[in-house]
């Protein structure tokens, strides 16, 4: 009874059933099971990226005929000051949002993991909460805090500091946006580090204690080196994410309808978005995407090189 019904559910190879060996049939089934991913990725992932590279050598408005222009698109964007501002903004905000965040996350993870902490689960949940909020919501909430008369400026002035124009100043905008990034991702990274810490066997600590190592030495010579794969993962993902920064500046600077190309906060993806969907220059937008891809690859490699250099006992540097 089971035989025909089962054959029907594996249908595509049913006809060939008698021709295929058991091994052949199971191979075919496996390919069938994994095929949706490869088909969808080919159409909506790989092809678009390859076509982006192709497109970057053409002038095109997405409607009319394409015109080959060689490296003209690259010339156009690399001579556009806004592009370079978007580039440096992306790097600056990437650095401001990522580096302190990773260091703080590491400290938080060590504290969460400490034997002193009797409420691990509750703290884990609380620290993780920011990550489930949408970036749009995060940006809107922080916009109220970073207003000119908002809470942050009140805190600054009441501690005797000067208020900062967070939604218009060159550094103000960057600080506000980096804070949003940090808030949303710090806890997430701390929890990743925490699972890294929990994977370190405790008897290593016991042994080192017997050898007379103090807490600082344990941190430097045991914890950080063993945590290296996790640190690499976190910095790699954070770096790639930082280069893609779009929603925070787009929403934050989109208020009062001034558009999102304001120089204080324009990022590479914002630049790309505007070139394509506001100005209709798909060629230059594609060239921007290609440069962004190159930057992503370079920074990922840099990340891996740095973290492989900080091997063994020099693991004290967290970046």
């Amino acid at each position: 009874m089971a035989e025909p019904a089962a054959a029907a559910t594996t249908s595509p190879n049913m006809a060939k059933r008698s021709l295929l060996s058991e091994r052949g049939r199971s191979r075919l089934t496996a390919y069938l099971f994994i095929s949706p991913f490869f088909i969808l990725f080919a159409i909506f992932g790989l092809y678009p990226i390859l076509f982006t590279i192709y497109l970057s050598f053409y002038k095109w408005d997405a409607l009319g005929p394409m015109k080959y222009v060689g490296f003209r698109n690259y010339e156009l964007i690399t001579t556009d000051p806004t592009f370079w501002i978007s580039f440096s903004n992306t790097l600056i905000m990437g650095l401001m949002g990522t580096l302190p965040q990773v260091i703080v996350a590491l400290f938080v993870a060590v504290m969460l993991n400490s034997a002193l902490n009797k409420y691990k689960n509750i703290f884990r949940i609380l620290y993780f909460m920011p990550n489930i909020t949408s970036i749009v919501a995060v940006t809107l909430v922080f916009s109220t805090m970073f207003g000119n008369n908002g809470m942050i400026n009140w805190l600054l002035t009441s501690t005797g500091l000067d208020s900062v124009p967070f939604n218009s100043g060159w550094w103000g905008v960057k600080i506000a946006i980096s804070t949003m990034v940090m808030w949303r991702w710090m806890g997430y990274n701390a929890i990743i580090f925490l699972s890294g810490l929990q994977s370190i066997p405790t008897d290593i600590y016991e042994a080192s204690r017997i050898d007379g190592a103090n807490r600082r030495q344990q941190m430097l010579f045991i914890t950080l080196p063993l945590l290296r794969p996790f640190i690499l993962f976190v910095t790699l993902v954070s770096t790639i994410g930082a280069l893609q920064l779009f929603t925070e500046p787009y929403v934050f600077l989109g208020q009062s309808g001034t558009g999102s190309t304001r120089q204080e906060g324009v990022t590479m993806v914002t630049y790309l978005y505007n070139e394509a969907f506001k100005n209709g220059f798909f060629g230059t937008a594609a060239a921007t995407a290609v440069l962004l891809l190159i930057a992503t690859i370079l920074f990922s490699l840099l990340n891996m090189i740095i973290s492989s250099r900080m091997g063994g006992e020099s693991g004290g540097k967290k970046a």
Partner: protein, 287 residues
């Protein structure tokens, strides 16, 4: 006596003061993580000027429904919520099914190039999706899917993370003997997958489902590119639209909408926090 206790204690056991400091510091971080949620509700439930009072207002008020009614005047909030629900649910069902299927194949089948293909799947996770946005937009235009949910749903129907996640789980949770036995009894591959594997891996499927739902729900960039008509806006686009207002920003109104859009996710998260956290951080732990 006391020395006996002393020697039992670990040599660097911290005292009361450092314990208090420890919790203060940890608690301070936790407050910073949670405060924006609370603040969202404070502004949402007070009148327009609440966001900019000096000193800042920290107590929830009674204006929430008033504020929220102004949201409804300006945008079809519930339509956007339903749109998001439709898109997120469809994508999630598809992702859970197709990723489990593929994860099962990678975990329990032997076939040429298996390892290479799996590494390829993992590798695609590091490719930033935004880079292909221009041709993707053109494809959608050609298919006449602009302004349609198909543009949001179809590209997201299966993803690398889901395959990775399900493969890891199926490798350890589904015993090969069970599958063998099913084959002996003459069960087809899909039938075994459906009747033997799926019941065992439902926890992992549920986790994947929740995570994926949240990701799709929170997505902004791609819906922004393909949705043109107000009626089709997802909740994130609708929220962002509330914020682009030339005649002064009504923060009470904006925050009431933000709060209403965040609350469902927050509840889901708090109910399933353990699963969600383990799922969202597993990429690092396993690689």
């Amino acid at each position: 006596m006391s020395t006996a206790i002393m020697s039992k204690r670990k040599p660097d056991e911290p005292g009361l003061i450092s314990r208090v400091l420890f919790y203060l510091l940890l608690g301070f971080g936790a407050v910073l993580s949670v405060f924006p949620f609370y603040w969202m509700f404070v502004v949402a439930s007070n009148d327009k000027t609440a966001a900019f009072q000096i000193p800042p207002l920290l107590i929830p008020g009674t204006e929430f429904f008033n504020n929220f009614s102004r949201v409804l005047e300006r945008t079809d909030f519930f339509k956007a919520l339903i749109n998001s629900l439709i898109v997120s649910t469809t994508v999630t069902l598809s992702v859970v099914f197709l990723c489990t299927l593929a994860g099962y194949a990678f975990a329990k089948f032997e076939f040429p190039l298996k390892k290479t293909l799996f590494v390829f799947v993992i590798g695609t996770m590091l490719v930033p999706a935004q880079l292909g946005v221009l041709p993707l937009y053109v494809i959608m235009a050609k298919l006449q899917w602009i302004d349609s949910y198909k543009a949001l749903i179809v590209p997201g129907m299966v993803n690398a993370f889901g395959i990775f996640w399900m493969r890891q789980y199926i490798s350890s949770a589904v015993h090969s003997e069970l599958i063998e036995a099913g084959r002996m009894d003459g069960g087809g591959h899909f039938r075994i997958f459906w009747n033997i594997a799926i019941p065992v891996v439902t926890p992992a499927m549920a986790t994947l489902g929740i995570i994926n739902f949240m990701n799709v729900w929170n997505d902004f960039f791609w819906p922004l590119v393909v949705l043109k008509n107000r009626e089709n806006y997802t909740i994130q686009i609708a929220l962002q639209q509330l914020f682009t207002n030339k005649d002064g920003l009504d923060y009470g109104m904006i925050m009431s909408a933000t709060f209403a859009a965040t609350l469902p996710l927050l509840i889901v998260f708090l109910l399933f926090s353990r699963w969600v956290i383990s799922g969202l951080t597993s990429g690092a732990v396993k690689s």
